[in-house]
């Protein structure tokens, strides 16, 4: 480690040496009003801006951009900053910790409680697209679906839990991501088979060489495959 390593330290940096990065989308009122209060209450930004070093005496904001915007508005010459490393993981993490980005959870492996908490969060957002979704119903159906194998979020729309394609599904995508596993070649699990369509089941049955497929109903197919 270099002796001049400054990662993790709190520094009082010149504002004009810091690039704003992505900037904040906070409304002007909040910035101006906060800047006034900052000036009245001593002018020290106790909540530091998080920056990374981009060159000699050059920095870029990675999170707490709101504080940066306020410091600029208040006309501070120097602003208190914490220097973070410049890895993508750190940037994502600090943004999420600062509440600037929404964290996502892995729907492929999430627990029932996690799914419920995520859906509850979405439903309770102001002007939520998912206002009409019933939390208990949606949680159960998503939890019990074979989401381990989902390659995208489309199957949610066929669970009949009020989440349809379009804005509602987009809202779902804002809190979940998937790390799909490939479907095992031999599926015997009735619960998984039941969630598949008859066409899909017939395709599997054909591969396994089961006779009389064309006349079989879904229940019969499931029985033959399990």
């Amino acid at each position: 480690m270099k002796i001049s390593n400054i990662i993790g330290s709190l520094m009082h940096l010149y504002l004009d040496e810091i690039e704003p990065g992505e900037g904040t989308d906070a409304p002007e009122f909040l910035i101006k009003a906060t800047a006034n209060i900052l000036k009245q209450k001593g002018g020290r930004n106790w909540l530091p801006v998080i920056v990374k070093e981009t060159g000699e005496d050059k920095y870029q904001v990675i999170s707490n951009s709101f504080v940066y915007a306020v410091a600029e508005e208040a006309g501070l010459e120097r602003v208190w900053c914490i220097i973070a490393d410049d890895s993508d993981d750190t940037i994502t993490l600090t943004k999420i910790l600062a509440g600037e980005e929404k964290p996502k959870i892995n729907l492929s492996t999430a627990s029932r409680d996690e799914i419920m908490a995520a859906l509850q969060y979405l439903i309770e957002q102001p002007n939520s697209e998912l206002k009409s979704v019933k939390l208990a119903v949606a949680t159960n159906r998503i939890d019990e679906a074979p989401r381990l194998y989902w390659k995208n979020f489309e199957p949610i729309t066929s669970l009949k839990c009020g989440i349809t394609k379009g804005k509602k599904l987009d809202a779902i995508k804002s809190v979940f991501y998937l790390t799909p596993q490939s479907m095992p070649d031999t599926i015997n699990d009735v619960t998984i088979l039941r969630t598949m369509t008859t066409v899909e089941l017939k395709a599997i049955a054909k591969k396994r060489g089961i006779a009389g497929i064309t006349k079989m109903k879904k229940d019969a197919l499931i029985e033959a495959l399990s």
């Binding site: 019933k134 208990a136 159960n140």
Partner: protein
């Protein structure tokens, strides 16, 4: 118990029996001394969904005046069978067990029920107290604790002797409330602060334990929720004056770093209420009801 030469064999045998046949049932009494909060609906549908999920369930109708549970399942009330089982030393509770069957083309489900007893409805508290002790139901359920996964007791909305029997018999107490009914919340607080600790003190093994309340009933709008929260905050404040912390029972997710005020909800709607007319639990008739009660069962029992 003192151990000496004369009783050592018996004590060892008792201990062995306890180890070899650990009681597996969880006894749940559904209690709120306010009526109309959905105790019976909760009992019927919980029994239905737990059975559906492969558990062996016994339900007991301990509301002899209303007998709603018994009639909701279309089973005739008994005339003296349960009374005999409770008051006669030589009669087991097994004799009062009936079976409720539900079958469709794909599905065959059944759970056991001890129906209400007309004879017990007419007895006064004083008379009943002369015939049995508070622990009688708990003791007579011994046979069932090996045989079932869940024993659900639907109690009556009062704190009379019969209700005390039901609470005494329980491991846990489930308290339904209604968000738009202040009394159901206040009565829940009374049960938590007064009734349940009384029974705990008497029973001496730490049971029964109250589970956090849940809201049963109409869909809650934001303003209604705020009114309910205000009422609950008042209840909590009053309880604190008596040095009683009711917070975990009302806001189970609340911690000092996370002011989470969510309360579990089971919405009730026409399909759930109407299911009674067909004598079939709503969870077997309605997909949404099925999901709501599965959610309740998972939240409280199946984790």
């Amino acid at each position: 118990m003192a151990l000496d030469l004369s009783n050592v064999d018996r004590v060892v045998a008792d201990i062995r029996k306890k180890i070899e046949s650990p009681s597996r049932a969880l006894t749940v009494t559904i209690y709120n001394n306010k009526g109309g909060v959905g105790k019976t609906t909760t009992t019927v549908n919980l029994a239905g969904i737990l059975t559906f999920l492969g558990k062996k369930v016994l339900v007991i109708d301990f509301d002899f005046n209303q007998q709603d549970l018994t009639s909701a399942l279309g089973i005739p009330a008994s005339n003296g069978v349960l009374k005999a089982a409770l008051t006669d030393k030589n009669v087991g509770l097994e004799s009062a067990v009936n079976q409720y069957n539900f079958s469709t083309k794909k599905l065959q489900l059944s759970f056991d029920i001890i129906p209400a007893d007309n004879d017990l409805a007419n007895e006064s508290d004083d008379k009943l107290r002369t015939l049995m002790q508070m622990r009688v139901l708990y003791k007579k359920l011994e046979f069932a604790r090996q045989e079932y996964d869940y024993i659900l007791i639907d109690s009556s909305p009062n704190w009379r002797f019969i209700s005390q029997l039901a609470v005494y018999a329980a491991d846990v107490i489930l308290i339904p409330t209604k968000h738009n009914n202040l009394f159901s919340l206040e009565n829940a607080a009374t049960a938590l602060q007064k009734f349940i600790p009384e029974i705990q003190a008497d029973k001496g093994d730490g049971n029964p334990i109250a589970l956090p309340i849940f809201f049963n009933g109409e869909k809650i709008t934001q303003p209604q929720l705020e009114v309910a929260q205000k009422a609950i905050n008042n209840i909590l404040k009053n309880a604190k004056k008596d040095k009683f912390d009711l917070l975990p029972y009302f806001y189970p997710k609340y911690t000092s770093a996370k002011k989470d005020l969510h309360i579990h909800q089971v919405p009730s709607y026409a399909n759930i209420a109407n299911a009674v007319f067909s004598r079939i639990p709503a969870v077997y008739r309605d997909r949404s009801a099925h999901d709501y009660y599965k959610d309740l069962a998972k939240e409280y029992f199946l984790q």
